[in-house]
Symmetry: C2
Subunit: 458 residues, 2 copies
């Protein structure tokens, strides 16, 4: 017999958990669409060649092969090379497919192209540290043709922060920074290996300030003063545009001036001012945010789940000047991605988010005897026509058993046809035991009982 | 450079089409949940061994392999066999994963287990005849432990018919039959190769009655009279439970009596009576519905899209006594599956279903000059707080250009800050050109303009 067990790295939720996941995806969709982002769904596969074009991720790719190809395959090196060129792999993120989609459809798209995309992605990594091999990502990106104004670097984190702040999850803190501020400051200090400094600053939380100073000296040739200055910059945080004054003060202290720094500070101040209006305390400036990846060229973003900081960033991204290029035109973009399955996995494991019941049903209509099932069906239909989720009892067993059917699933109400003294129907709230006369044409549960509600334990 | 072109068999919709797809998926979900079906999403992969357990479909499977495994692989037969055993493949339908899921979670599930599942599936077939290699299926199934009452064979097609009849698509005709009627009738005629008769009756639409008679004689040893009787049975159709009388009349004519036939007719009559109430003329009895697959044991269902019968059945299924078995317990089920991508592909290709605009946005708030962008942003925020999808113009270009931005995307309204004589805001319906004073705290578009609407050309 085939294995019928879980496969490590391929999580499956219970139906109650899937209701939570759907609810959260629906809420994200709603906020993204309210802001004018269009839905996009790309195929699950991309040519291997395209998946490998960023180099570093090659080991994560799942290759696809049709079973019947196996017989055909020859193992000469030449044929293998040819097969590899044409090979398809599953996408490991939603950015690489977006880049391909934009190039493929550039003639048909209107720019700036604002899209959201919520899909499964696959990575062949070892499933450890809460990493999955199959998981949902929820991305938004804005892509321009040739140019993309800075204000989209403000819009994207604000849309994401609003979307996340509304979810039934612990509070979030979105930490923002601007590569231009870091780069301008480092250059002004006389350090030119910007990537080297960023790479080491990125380790601050992991290895502590002393080791970072050591590495800055050893790897990028910083003096003690330069290394300390980098560290001081990384320590700056602010809930407002006052971050600009803090950085300027530090720059004055180290006699740093740079045009890139000025541009970066203008931008960061603009972002913090905009965040003040609606998201004060949720979007914060944090000059330690470096992001390891070298393709970010402006704003960078990371997001902590408050109380679950050990999970790492649940939503990250930034500005990249070259998402894609076809030789003639380059397509700059700014985007963020939520690691949805990883987030949900934590919330489910700690029972932080739960569904009020395990099925959508609000009412089970009891069946008195099998011959009268059609009567019960008509009541259920009447309730559904009024948008009340209802099902007819699967059996005409004793009422105690039918109530148990509802109870096991967390269904709050059981309907009894003609159970009242005068032959009226009655409905029982099986939690309180209250049973009252009810008419399927007018009765409604309270709003909180109509559909399963998502509960968030503080 | 990597290929940046479409890959045959892996369709991608435009964002406007994706909005239609999402709308349809949302509507299906809503009807399924109203009937108490729980959402389920299974992992995309299953062990190859499990995928192959039904034999016939082996050639359709996409195998998965991590790129880095390539180096490790040895080609001895033994190792290949071992690798094949552990190999994962992409699921090619949602029934095989359901069977595995039920066995894996049988201790935790409550039976009867009613679930819906809307996911992509993958098949390595040649992409021809409108067949896709990646496509959506939308399934509902009811699974029992040991037993499953007949009334679920009535419920499942009625839920599906209601769901499909509500969609913005051409009308549907769901054709139902019962294997027991066919089997009882054939046995009563003296024909014992039931699968053989069904297999040939299934070809009726394709090859015509004369060839079917020939095949019945040649392959299952039917006499001319027996073959004609089978053909006459297959010609019976009815919009009501009168189908029972028609079959009985035919049985009398050929002197056929059979207990299985009686059971089958009782069941089919029950189904047609139930359909009469709400779905008269949509769910019809059609004794030619045979379904090629041999695992159906009771009701069988097929669905035509009226005017697009050449597309084949868009939603099929039936009762199977053994969805899964763990040796101790067997799990009978009844289910149906919509071939969603195939259906949408036809509707999109013929422009039968379209979205009223290509983005969710209802209102573009114009920007007078870049310094005043924050003012426009505040208006857009106010509109969104009242659930009106709005975005701020990407540039402070001339108003004509900003209107063009909206027009290209089908966005109906452009908002001008302080454009009225007394400094009030104004909103322009760019379709009619009407421009009127408007307050972001109270103005609303008419309901039909609030979100993109799905239009169905009759």
């Amino acid at each position: 017999m085939a294995r019928r067990t879980a496969i490590s790295g391929f999580p499956e939720w219970t139906s109650a958990q899937r209701m939570v996941e759907q609810n959260i995806i629906d809420q994200l969709r709603h906020v993204f669409e309210l802001h004018g982002y269009v839905p996009l769904e790309t195929r699950a596969v991309e040519p291997l060649e395209h998946l490998l074009s960023k180099g570093e991720t090659s080991k994560e790719v799942y290759l696809l092969r049709r079973l019947q190809e196996d017989g055909e395959q020859q193992d000469t090196e030449q044929r293998q090379a040819a097969a590899q060129r044409d090979q398809l792999g599953l996408h490991f993120d939603l950015t690489v497919p977006l880049a391909r989609y934009v190039l493929e459809n550039s003639g048909k798209l209107h720019f700036p192209f604002k899209r959201y995309q919520i899909q499964k992605v696959w990575r062949g990594e070892r499933p450890q540290d809460g990493r999955f091999r199959e998981f949902y990502q929820a991305d938004i990106d804005v892509v321009g043709a040739t140019t993309l104004p800075y204000h989209f670097e403000v819009e994207v984190p604000l849309v994401m922060a609003k979307a996340l702040a509304k979810l039934p999850i612990p509070p979030i803190k979105m930490r923002v920074n601007n590569r231009r501020v870091s780069e301008g400051f480092y250059r002004g200090l006389g350090l030119d290996d910007i990537q080297g400094v960023l790479r080491n600053i990125d380790k601050l939380a992991k290895i502590g300030p002393e080791k970072v100073v050591e590495l800055l000296k050893a790897e990028v040739g910083a003096s003690e003063t330069q290394a300390q200055a980098c560290l001081e910059l990384a320590r700056i945080t602010s809930e407002s545009a006052s971050v600009v004054d803090q950085v300027r003060e530090l720059a004055d202290k180290y006699d740093v001036s740079s045009e890139i720094l000025d541009i970066g500070l203008d931008e960061l101040g603009y972002l913090m001012d905009a965040a003040q209006d609606e998201l004060a305390g949720i979007v914060v400036a944090d000059l330690s945010v470096a992001r390891g990846l070298d393709y970010y060229t402006g704003s960078v973003y990371e997001t902590d789940l408050v109380g679950h900081e050990d999970l790492g960033s649940i939503c990250s991204g930034g500005r990249y000047d070259e998402l894609a290029s076809d030789g003639k035109t380059s397509y700059p973009g700014v985007g963020m991605s939520i690691g949805l399955s990883r987030l949900l996995s934590r919330l489910f494991a700690t029972d932080v988010v739960t569904s009020s019941r395990s099925v959508p049903t609000a009412v089970v209509v009891a069946v008195t005897n099998e011959e009268d099932r059609a009567m019960s069906n008509r009541i259920a239909t009447q309730l559904r026509e009024r948008d009340i989720p209802a099902e007819t009892s699967p059996t005409a067993a004793k009422f105690g058993k039918q109530i148990k059917y509802a109870d096991r699933r967390g269904i709050p109400f059981v309907w009894f046809v003609g159970a009242g003294d005068d032959g009226a129907d009655q409905v029982k709230d099986i939690r309180s035991g209250d049973q009252v006369d009810a008419d399927p044409a007018t009765w409604s549960p309270v709003a909180a009982d109509l559909w399963p509600t998502i509960n968030h334990a503080e």
